[in-house]
């Protein structure tokens, strides 16, 4: 081995170790950034849950990252001030549950129509649904409210649930999903067996589409659970208040300086969603990805 090749070989190894070192340094930098972002994401939510278990005096004395033992007393303060948490929970569950069923069923039906059948105007309808996804529908809430008053549906859950029959985003998602799973052979076999078209949709397509329906359902549920604006405008009776509306009342004078109780009310309103998320995060993350990437 000549001296020259030896020198160049050592240069290459030096370059390699240098590169490795820089890459590792960069990796450390990335993990630090990720850790900071994680802290920013988690700490506010963590403080929310911790403070829900602490007394107002404790909260005013300082920050703690460990829970205390005032959960029950905070709950009693909320109840004594007239915040009917169980009632709000029930109301929100009823609305969100029904919204989920309505959205999933009718959106899958519409998506099935777009994927399985060929008819005039189908492409136009599909393009129209795409445009609908991009339209700020909340801005017609005043006209919607006045119309509901006229037909006697204001202050009713029907006004919150029925509009979800036409959920453009869900139909779009449903179409993407069905295109990847619908099998013509199965549909044809169903027809030969004499099943009705709706029967095929119910008994053949639905069982296959359960994962997609489930993902769609999670988004519908979360959306309905968190919906404040529409409920705030449409619902007026106190006993029909949903969780976000109860949260809004926590800002009132009645709870002034009852910090522990306020944190508890807020924590209660987000906990079902956090449980759902940690159980089904895979579906949710995949669902978001599917909504955007075509082909």
């Amino acid at each position: 081995m000549s001296a020259e090749t030896q020198v160049s070989a050592s240069l290459i190894t030096e370059k390699k170790t240098n590169y490795r070192f820089r890459l590792n340094l960069f990796r450390i930098f990335i993990y630090v950034v990720l850790a900071i972002l994680l802290l920013i994401t988690i700490v506010p939510v963590w403080l929310l849950f911790v403070n829900a278990t602490r007394s107002t005096v404790e909260i005013q004395q300082g920050i703690s990252l460990l829970p205390s033992k005032f959960l029950i007393s905070n709950y009693n303060i909320l109840l004594s001030r007239g915040l009917d948490l169980p009632r709000g929970f029930l109301n929100s569950f009823v609305i969100s549950g029904l919204t989920t069923v309505v959205t999933v069923y009718f959106s899958l039906l519409a998506a099935y129509s777009l994927v399985v059948y060929n008819y005039k105007g189908k492409q136009a309808i599909y393009n129209f649904i795409l445009v609908l996804v991009m339209i700020p529908t909340q801005l017609s809430i005043i006209g919607f409210y006045q119309y509901m008053v006229k037909i006697g549906l204001d202050d009713s859950y029907a006004a919150l649930i029925l509009p979800t029959i036409a959920s453009a985003g869900a139909v779009f998602f449903g179409k993407q999903y069905l295109e990847s799973i619908v099998l013509t052979e199965l549909i044809d076999a169903g027809r030969i067996d004499g099943a009705s078209e709706l029967g095929i949709f119910h008994r053949i397509m639905f069982p296959i589409a359960v994962p997609g329906a489930f993902t769609m359902g999670i988004f519908a549920f979360v959306g309905a659970w968190n919906n404040f604006f529409n409920a705030f405008i449409l619902i007026s009776s106190r006993d029909k208040y949903t969780m976000p509306m109860l949260v809004q009342t926590l800002r009132g004078d009645v709870y002034r300086h009852e910090y522990g109780a306020i944190y508890l009310g807020l924590a209660a309103s987000v906990i079902p969603i956090i449980i759902i998320y940690f159980l089904f995060s895979r579906y949710i993350v995949n669902g978001i990805s599917m909504g955007a990437v075509k082909e």
Binding site: L109, S113, M134, Y259, I288
Partner: protein, 306 residues
């Protein structure tokens, strides 16, 4: 497309009918009704107001507060959207880069996304408590000697505006990261390999391969975020007193619409006119972005092909 049974195709109309009817009854008619109401002086007290022509719009455009609300809405959206896209681009490049091999990509991304699912009204109330005079942020800052004494954040227009921007960013950067990652992982590895052989740098690969190929996802993110941002309500409404305080700093157009609706008279007509103006503005800008960017990609493809 799936070849389907000749005579059964009319079922297609039947199955899409609920959607169409639902849209006509609960989507299109309310929109028409809002537009119709915006030309009347309807209030909560008198159900059928008189036709007043463009009076509501004239008053609206003469109102400085309305321009403040529109400017605020745009500012609050842009200020959160730009860093949101920036951080999300950075994170998605890091997570998808095969050389960096970042561990636990799925878990990081799952945790970063979590705030997006939390109830916005609860989030706003939470941040209000955290930043209140006796709240944890003041306690921490004073104890860590970062501030000489507690600051009344809630009364500072700049802090509140910054806080709305931060909360929006906090809630959305995870979702944007997931979307961008979905776009990036759908790009074939072979393209990058070919570029590496041609001696392209990491930056060149990002600029000339990744960016053009994730353009459809970027348009999707831009348009959906814009439409959401123009309707911003829950966070600024519940962060302070529901009137965009302090000094109208976080007054958005939707809050203004709500204030007109719930004013002592309940000016439904005037509230509708706010909705109509913002609706036209948002739809116009959203469709403009969509078509401008779409056509450009098509043209480029055509140029390459010809």
């Amino acid at each position: 497309m799936i070849r389907s049974n000749y005579r059964k195709n009319y079922y297609g109309y039947l199955f899409i009918a609920p959607f169409i009817i639902g849209f006509l009854v609960f989507g299109l008619y309310p929109l028409y009704n809002t537009i119709a109401l915006s030309f009347t002086n309807t209030t909560m007290m008198k159900a059928n107001g008189a036709f007043v022509g463009l009076q509501n719009f004239e008053r609206l455009f003469a109102d400085k507060t309305f321009f403040t609300a529109i400017t605020n809405t745009w500012t609050l959206w842009l200020m959160n959207f730009i860093p949101q896209l920036g951080i999300a681009l950075l994170l998605s490049v890091w997570f998808t880069n095969t050389r960096l091999r970042i561990k636990g990509g799925g878990i990081w991304r799952m945790l970063f996304y979590m705030p997006n699912l939390l109830m916005p009204s609860a989030i706003a109330a939470l941040y209000f408590s955290l930043f209140s005079y006796y709240g944890p942020v003041n306690q921490f800052m004073v104890r860590a000697d970062l501030l000489p004494e507690a600051v009344d954040f809630i009364r500072s227009p700049d802090v509140m505006r910054g806080l709305v921007v931060f909360i929006q960013w906090w809630m959305w950067f995870g979702q944007t990261t997931i979307l961008l990652m979905a776009g990036m992982t759908s790009i074939s590895v072979a393209v990058y390999e070919a570029a590496t052989i041609d001696g392209a740098s990491i930056w060149q690969m990002f600029r000339y391969i990744t960016l053009p190929l994730i353009k459809p996802v970027m348009i999707f993110i831009l348009v959906t975020s814009l439409v959401g941002g123009m309707q911003m309500f829950d966070i600024p409404f519940l962060l302070t007193d529901g009137r965009g305080s302090p000094a109208n700093s976080i007054l958005t157009s939707n809050i203004m619409m709500y204030m007109k609706f719930r004013s002592s008279q309940g000016h439904i007509g005037a509230a509708s006119s706010v909705g109509v103006v913002v609706f036209i503005m948002t739809t116009f800008v959203a469709l403009l972005i969509f078509y401008l960017l779409r056509e450009k990609t098509d043209k480029k493809v055509k140029e390459v092909r010809s």
